[in-house]
């Protein structure tokens, strides 16, 4: 009793627990994912900052390169203001690279680490070269070593290329995080590449202008190659598939940059790309200072485009970060709610369902076994289970009333049957006395009537006896002795009591013979059923089989005969008191046996059924709790 109750509660708690775990798991996974998104957004933010710094560095490197080249070939008057710009550019380069390197997280892939080491190395080389350039600038114009300028140009360009390479490698994991950002980064990269080639071109032209020389063959080839790459680069940029929104945003900037570039280029295209003698002295319509200003503007307009994209990337990253934050908050809130609901469920099940149910079951157990019903004390008097307890109390009271009134009814039947017998006996006596006293004068017919009268009186007397016995079934059960006998002995005693015609056989099943059972009132039930089968049999030969099967809680008996059978329409009626299927005068019984059987079986907590049809014999089955 206790164990099974505990297991129901445990089962409930386990089910709720598993559900809760599932919910917690799902929500927890969501939180984890949001956290992951947030982390990625953080990485992206950091990454885009680093990339931005590197771009800034390379932009300034590009400007410094152009300035340096012009300065190296300019007179001091021209060089001085340019040199101030150069210093600013150099500072910007140093600051941007510093920011970029410190902004990079410590744990990078091998590729990133190697490439960044390369960038650092090339930057250090450039720093040394800077000093050499500064030293060289102190020398008069004609004494300057063009080799140093060339070296500087190569090393500066190599550093920019390395940075470019670095950005490519470094941005790869970020591109995987978000496809839009990936697009932006690639676009940005192309813009930057374009700016770099333009920067190289401007630097070379700047040098030419400063020297007042036509380019030599190498420079000319370099310029042609750069032109090709720049025009190709613009082609790519124009055809690049951007989102509608971004395209609209960037289009004016692209137009501006493109116009600026080609306008600047138009100023000098004829001179540099036309027919000329390599390295010859030239006279240009613009000064190198003006050129640097113009080309600087053209590069700037490209860089503005790039900046716009960079800030778009930043906005995008911020948005992702925001979303991730919001996700974390929402998921966290859901997680908290789920947790609270879980705890609430557990508390409700444990304290408001399981405990009262347990208390109720105990109360009911007590009610059925000890006939005492006490409403269990519960904390939640207004809840269904507490109400149920009150309802059950009413049920119990009603059941008690019912039992009382049943007891009352039985007492009434007993007293009525008993008290009816006295006047009946008086009538019997008086009729007898009448016959005795009037023997000589009474006609034969009257004597016969008196005789008939007494027959009825005896029948009524028997019926009153039956009623008495029937009324006493309930009371009897409680006072039965509890002898335990085997089914075999039980049946032997029954068979001994029955007046059996010669060709009638009563067969006791093997199972039944083996079982041990309480003798009374079971024997009375089996006796009545077997006796009925014998009494109502209509053939010279008969076989009556009695058997039983066992379950953990009860026996199931069967009494089968091959007699006349019972029409299904009477299957209810046969169990009623004083019901016989034959007229009373012809009937072999008083219609009491099956009523008694049924009452005893039911009083013992069993059920009885009949299976029969006319001409097919009869099978009675009844259960008998152990």
């Amino acid at each position: 009793m206790k164990n099974s109750q505990l297991s129901i509660r445990t089962t409930l708690l386990i089910i709720v627990g598993v559900l809760n775990l599932l919910i917690a798991g799902l929500v927890g996974y969501q939180v984890y994912k949001s956290w992951d998104h947030y982390q990625q957004a953080q990485l992206l933010k950091q990454g885009s900052n680093v990339i931005g710094s590197f771009y800034a560095a390379s932009k300034n490197l590009s400007l410094a390169r152009a300035s340096t080249l012009s300065i190296m070939y300019s007179t001091p008057e021209v060089a001085e203001p340019l040199y101030q710009d150069l210093l600013k550019n150099r500072q910007a380069v140093d600051a941007a690279l510093n920011t970029a390197f410190t902004g990079m997280s410590a744990n990078n892939s091998v590729d990133v680490s190697t490439t960044s080491a390369q960038v650092k190395r090339k930057y250090e080389i450039l720093l040394k070269r800077r000093k050499q350039i500064d030293a060289e600038l102190k020398a008069p114009l004609q004494d300057r070593n063009p080799e140093i300028t060339n070296k500087f140009y190569e090393e500066n360009t190599a550093l920019i290329t390395e940075i470019q390479n670095f950005i490519l490698i470094y941005s790869k994991p970020f591109q995987r995080i978000d496809s839009a950002i990936s697009q932006h980064m690639i676009f940005e990269y192309f813009v930057w590449e374009l700016a770099e080639y333009s920067g190289e071109e401007y630097a070379i032209i700047g040098q030419m202008l400063a020297e007042n020389k036509y380019p030599n063959q190498r420079q000319h080839e370099q310029l042609l190659s750069l032109r090709g790459r720049i025009e190709y680069g613009w082609d790519i940029l124009r055809k690049f598939s951007l989102s509608q929104e971004l395209a609209e945003q960037l289009f004016p900037l692209m137009e501006e940059a493109s116009t600026q570039y080609f306008f600047t280029f138009d100023q000098v295209s004829e001179i540099f790309y036309g027919n000329q003698t390599y390295g010859a002295q030239a006279s240009y319509p613009i000064t190198s200072t003006l050129w640097l200003g113009m080309s600087g503007q053209a590069v700037d307009s490209l860089l503005m485009l790039q900046n716009e994209i960079l800030s778009e990337v930043k906005r995008r990253v911020d948005k992702i970060e925001m979303e991730a934050k919001r996700e974390i908050i929402i998921s966290g809130a859901i997680f908290l709610c789920a947790l609270i609901i879980t705890i609430y469920c557990w508390v409700v099940i444990a304290y408001r369902v399981a405990r009262p149910v347990y208390a109720m079951v105990n109360a009911l157990y007590k009610a059925t076994h000890e006939n005492i019903f006490e409403i269990p004390t519960m904390n939640y008097q207004h809840e269904e289970i507490a109400k149920l307890a009150h309802v059950l109390e009413v049920f119990h009271r009603n059941a008690q009333k019912m039992k009382d009134s049943n007891d009352e009814l039985e007492r009434f039947a007993f007293i009525a049957a008993h008290d009816l017998k006295s006047p009946l006996r008086a009538v019997d006596n008086i009729s007898q006395w009448l016959e005795e006293d009037l023997e000589d004068v009474l006609p034969e017919s009257s004597k016969k009537h008196l005789d008939e009268m007494r027959k009825r009186i005896r029948l009524m007397d028997k019926m009153l006896d039956d009623t008495l016995e029937y009324a006493r079934v309930g009371a009897k059960i409680e006072s039965q002795s509890n002898d335990i006998v085997s089914g075999r002995i039980l049946m032997e005693e029954i068979i001994a009591l029955i007046d059996l015609p010669p060709d009638f056989k009563i067969y006791t099943g093997k199972n039944l013979a083996r079982f041990n059972m309480q003798k009374l009132p079971l024997q009375q039930v089996l006796f009545n059923l077997v006796n009925n089968a014998v009494k109502h049999h209509d053939k010279a030969q008969a076989l009556i089989e009695v058997d039983a099967v066992e379950s953990p809680t009860e026996f199931m008996f069967s009494v089968r005969d091959d007699g006349p059978g019972i029409d299904p329409q009477f299957h209810q009626k046969i169990f009623e008191m004083f019901q016989t299927l034959q007229p009373r005068e012809k009937s072999k019984g008083r219609g009491m046996g099956l009523a008694m059987v049924r009452k005893i079986v039911i009083a013992n907590g069993g059920t009885i059924k009949v299976e029969s049809a006319l001409g097919e014999g009869t099978l009675f089955r009844f259960t008998w709790p152990k």
């Binding site: 008993h418 008086a426 006596n429 005795e436």
Partner: protein, 138 residues
Amino acid sequence: MREVVNILVVEDDEIDVESLKRLFAKKDIKNPVYYAANGMEALEIMRGENNLAKVPKPFIVLLDINMPKMNGIEMLRELRSDENLKDTVVFVLTTSPRDEDKTITYKLNVAGYFLKKDIKELVTLLSLYWQLNEFPES
């Protein structure tokens, strides 16, 4: 020579009294028979109270249980607590088949418990019983 045994029938039902009378007549029983309608009357007769002639001992009582005023069981208790009467032989003659009644009357030392449906046989039995039974001399 055996003493004449007096018979006291304590019975409220006139038909039963009549029935006994007839049976006694049939069995040719000549013993003096006294009749009382309830326990009180029976005790009065036995004790000779209320100007009633005291019935001499020995006598046997045929006692019904359900009677007005004083029922059979109450009378038995009274009888058994009376020094003079506690050795009285009592046969219960009743319609009650209840075990309780049997138990309680036997505890009050009745000589037998008979149901009224067997009254004929009881009279046959008694007719021999009081012929053959030996009583102490009072």
